[in-house]
Each structure stands twice: as C-alpha cells, then as structure tokens.
C-alpha cells in the first residue's frame, strides 16, 4: 500500500495531504470542545450579569461581572436552605454508598463464592431500571414510617441510585491492587483486617474518594425523586424545578450556575479515574 502511494503521489503531495489531515483533525477537536464549552460560557455570561442585561436585547457576549443575579438568588426565600439541603443529602448519600458499597466491591474482587454471579446480576439489573420511579411507592412508605419530606429519606433513595455504581467502581479499584500484596502482608504478621488497613487502604484511598465524589454528583444532580419526596425540605434541583414557571429568568440562570460549578470541580477531581471506573465496570 505504501509503495502504491509513493508511485502515485510525489513526496510534496504526501506531505501536503498529511498536513490537511492534521489540520482537519485539529479543527474537529476544537469544534467539539467549543460545542461543549460555548453553552456553558453563555450561561456564565448571563449568571454574571444584572437582571437588566439578562432580559435586554440584543445580548452582550461578554459578562458584566455584575453579581446582582447571584445576590438575588442567595436572598430568594428558601434558596439557601434548598442549597444546604442539597449538600446534606449528597454528603449522606456519598457516605452511605461507600460504606455499604465498598465491602461488596472488595468481596467481588477477592473471593469466589457461590451466588457471586447472581449478586453481580442484581447489581447490573438495577441499571436496567428507571430508578427515579422508585420514589413513587416510597413516598407512600415514607409517610407511614415518618421519613417523608426528610433529608435522610431522600438520601436513602439517592443511595439506591449511587450504590450500583459504588459497588462496580470499588470492585474495579480493588481489582487494581494485586492480591499478592495482601498475601505478603499476611506472611509478615498482619491479619486480614490489618493487612487491609495497612496495605490496601492507602493504595485505594484516591480511588475511593473518586467514587465517593461520583456518588455525591449523582445525588446533587437528581431531580425527579427529589421533587417527589420533598415538600418543605426541597433540594436545590427540586426547588428550581418547582419554581420554573414563576421565577424570573435571571433567577433560573443563577440557579443553573450554582448547579454547574460543583460539577466542573468534581469532574476535574475524578478525571483520572473516569476510565478506570468504567473499564471494568463495563463487563
């Protein structure tokens, strides 16, 4: 094939074709980056402008760096408590999904036991179901048990959403630590528990943190179950959803801004683990 090319094209032509290909390739990548970043940028322009600029026309493509919208947002009745509810629910979800999920991830990576494949199937099955719908029957159940409209009740549902991911992600992270390391620790006088805490834990801590952050994001972003299960103690997403029809534009945009900022930080924090998490969680 290479010979054919040379016989048809002169070296200069090959070089040129190569250049065009490279140019195309780069343009494509830049266009796709712009496709992701431009809408975000426009949100930032609006969130960082005064309400007058947000509603005015034609628009300015540069933000004024006026914090009126954000200040209005922070003073809007119920908004700060919604924000703190969101954070609380997400933190509880994060802790519960790791505490409950990580041991199962460890079991899957280290042991062969009867029922292992059934257990894996149960975990995978949860991903084939529209989980937010669970909130509907749970709403009734929670009223009976006094969990209705509580932070903890919502966190339980969000943990159901995050748990399958926590199990699969911790499974892939534990699988990355060779069992031989643990075995060496045992021969050097550790038991299973101290071998785990002294050898495995320090190695996997960043990965565990990444999957915890992932659980946080799942909860932080969830809308449907939050809107179904909370009335007085609304989370930020539920609050914004509830007020979509009535709230002025600059309030919506400021709310969107507040929702997006943690996402930017979290994805940056877990970026190294995204593929490791999915590589094995895949199969």
């Amino acid at each position: 094939m290479i010979k054919e090319n040379i016989s048809i094209l002169t070296p200069a032509q090959i070089l040129q074709r190569h250049k065009i290909g490279r140019y195309l390739y780069r343009t494509l990548i830049i266009v796709l980056c712009a496709w992701v970043l431009l809408p975000l940028y426009l949100l930032f322009v609006n969130a960082l402008s005064s309400s007058k600029a947000v509603n005015s026309f034609p628009k300015n493509f540069v933000p004024e760096f006026d914090f009126e919208s954000l200040i209005f947002f922070s003073q809007f009745a119920g908004m700060t408590s919604a924000l703190s509810n969101s954070i609380k629910v997400a933190v509880i979800t994060m802790i519960m999904s790791i505490v409950i999920g990580a041991p199962a991830g460890y079991a899957l990576s280290r042991f062969d036991f009867r029922g292992k494949s059934t257990f894996r199937l149960l975990i995978l099955l949860t991903r084939a179901f529209p989980l937010p719908l669970l909130a509907l029957p749970l709403a009734v159940l929670f009223i009976r048990t006094g969990l209705d409209d509580t932070i903890f009740g919502l966190a339980l549902v969000h943990t159901t959403l995050a748990l399958p991911f926590a199990v699969l992600i911790t499974f892939s992270i534990f699988s990355g630590v060779p069992i031989e390391l643990e075995e060496v620790a045992w021969t050097l006088g550790c038991n299973r528990l101290t071998g785990f805490t002294k050898v495995v834990l320090p190695l996997i801590l960043p990965g565990i943190a990444a999957s915890a952050i992932f659980a946080f994001v799942i909860s932080w972003n969830e809308v449907f179950a939050a809107a179904v299960l909370t009335v007085e103690n609304r989370t930020l997403t539920a609050f914004l959803l509830q007020n979509l029809d009535t709230s002025p534009l600059h309030l919506k945009f400021a709310g969107g801004f507040i929702l997006v900022i943690p996402a930017l930080i979290f994805i940056f924090a877990v970026r190294k683990y995204l593929f490791a998490m999915w590589g094995i969680a895949n199969r």
Binding site: L40, P132, V140, V223, F253
Partner: protein, 281 residues
C-alpha cells in the same frame, strides 16, 4: 469469622439495602398500578391510556429517544476515536468533553434556555445577521419543531459524555496486536475501525446504549426547563398524575409503562449486540 462466610458478610449490606429500596418498591408500585378502589384490575391503565395526552407523551418520548440516541452514539464514537489517537493535550480535551457528565439534566435545560429564550443568544445572533427584526418567541406552541430541536440539542449536549467515557474505556481494552495484524494485512484506518474497533467494542456499545436509552426514556427536567407543558413526556405525565391529579394509581401505571419500554429496549439492545460465545477478548 472464617474465609467462607466473609464474602457473604461483605455483600450482605448491599443485598439488604437493594432488597428494601429497589426490589420492594417495585413490588409496591406494581400493586399500586393494578389496584383500583376496592378491587384489582386494569382500570388505572384504562384511565391513563384513554387520557388524550397519553399518546402524545408516549410519541414525544419515543421520538426524542430515536432522534437523540443514534446521533449521540455517532458523536461519541467520533470523539472516542479522535481522543485515542491524540498525543498532546489529551487530558485537557477529555476533561472538557466529559464536563457534561457532571451536569444535571435540569442545569442542561437551563443552559440551553439561555440560548433559545426570547431574549436569548440565538435571537441575538439571528438579529445581528439580519435574519429577524426583533426577538421572536422560539419556544412556543406555534413552533413545536423548534421546541423539539432545543430539547434534543440539550439532551445530546448533556448525555453524550457518558457514552464517550464507556467507549474510550472499551477501546483501551482492545489489544494493540489486533491493529498491528490488521495493518500488516494492509487495512487502512477506516477498515481498521470497521473491522477491528467496532466488533471488539460490542460489549461497551451494549452497556453504553442500555444506559443511555433508559436515561432517554426517563427524560424529564430538560423538557420541563425548555418546553414546560408544551412538550409532554411520560415522566412529566407521571409527575402530573402524582401531584396535580393526586392519582398515585395512575402514576404507578405510567411508571410501569416506562419500566416496560425500558426492559424491552434493554433486552433488544443486548440481543442485537450480543457477543457470540467463545469470541470474547
């Protein structure tokens, strides 16, 4: 504590938790759906199906998924191939492309509202190029096509990243030797993609598609933010039954409809993309 019982002790919390908060609620929701007044029957389903909005919301949900998912798959494949070839700046590009992974559907809806709103950027651009004289209301009942387009764009923007991540991870698992062999036999880049990458990527494609299609049937907040009541979908109808009509039986029946569509799609996708026995990596 011996080694035999240890794995069971470790998986016990997850099993109990999913039993209580995953399996039990599904039993409850099925009961609710088939329960009406005193007896058991299909009257909830009859009520829901005969409502004039049901066919529209079903159609909207399915059309949206049919329009969005194939485009996302194509886009994610393109991005995945571009990024695997990359040498410099790969981390930055991957970070940028995976940002939407962390952004909620509600926020994505709000982001695209910034563009499509009457005083938004699209109107601004159209005016500056002289296409319109004054801002027009793009998202109104008079322009259902534009409402659909805005929602579809927001969905494509938001949820392509999840497919991308799964595919990039999958491509990373394909042994280099396959590509070397293909090159030895004279396959060009396009042929290598068609004959090596795509077939070996089947498990990842299947995972990504199942996940994505189920999320597409659950579409809710994006639609609420952009279309509101103009574009009813199954989830927004479910929400309405629960809260506006206070008919939890109807909501449960609709939930089962969403569930049935999701399971059908999952089975279909896994069947079509099944890896033949003995042909794994």
């Amino acid at each position: 504590m011996n080694a035999k019982s240890l794995p069971y002790i470790l998986i016990l919390p997850v099993t109990v938790f999913l039993g209580v908060f995953f399996i039990y609620p599904f039993i409850l929701v099925s009961q609710q759906a088939f329960q009406s007044g005193a007896g058991v029957g299909l009257s909830n389903f009859e009520n829901v199906f005969s409502h004039w909005k049901f066919p529209i919301s079903l159609k909207n949900t399915l059309y949206l998924a049919a329009a969005v998912v194939p485009l996302q798959l194509g886009l994610a494949l393109l991005m995945a191939v571009l990024v695997t070839k990359m040498q410099r700046g790969r981390d930055l590009v991957i970070y940028i492309w995976t940002i939407p992974l962390g952004i909620s559907d509600l926020a994505a809806g709000i982001i695209w509202l910034v563009i499509f709103d009457q005083s938004g950027f699209l109107n601004s651009i159209m005016q500056s190029v002289g296409a319109i004289d004054r801002p027009i209301n793009l998202l109104s009942y008079q322009s259902p096509g534009l409402v659909f387009l805005a929602i579809a764009l927001a969905e494509i923007w938001r949820a392509t990243a999840i497919i991308l991540v799964i595919l990039v991870a999958g491509i990373g698992l394909i042994p280099k030797e396959y590509y070397e062999a293909a090159e030895v036999f004279g396959a060009n880049g396009w042929q290598r993609f068609l004959r090596v990458t795509l077939p070996l990527l089947r498990p990842s494609l299947s995972t990504a598609l199942v996940l994505r299609v189920i999320l597409a049937f659950e579409v809710f907040a994006v639609v609420q933010a952009l279309g509101g009541t103009l574009f009813p979908v199954l989830m927004s109808e479910t929400f309405k039954y629960q809260f506006e009509l206070l008919d939890s039986g109807g909501a449960a029946a609709l939930a089962l409809v969403v569930l049935a569509i999701s399971i059908t799609a999952t089975v279909a996708i896994t069947r079509i993309l099944r890896v033949p026995k003995g042909a794994t990596l």
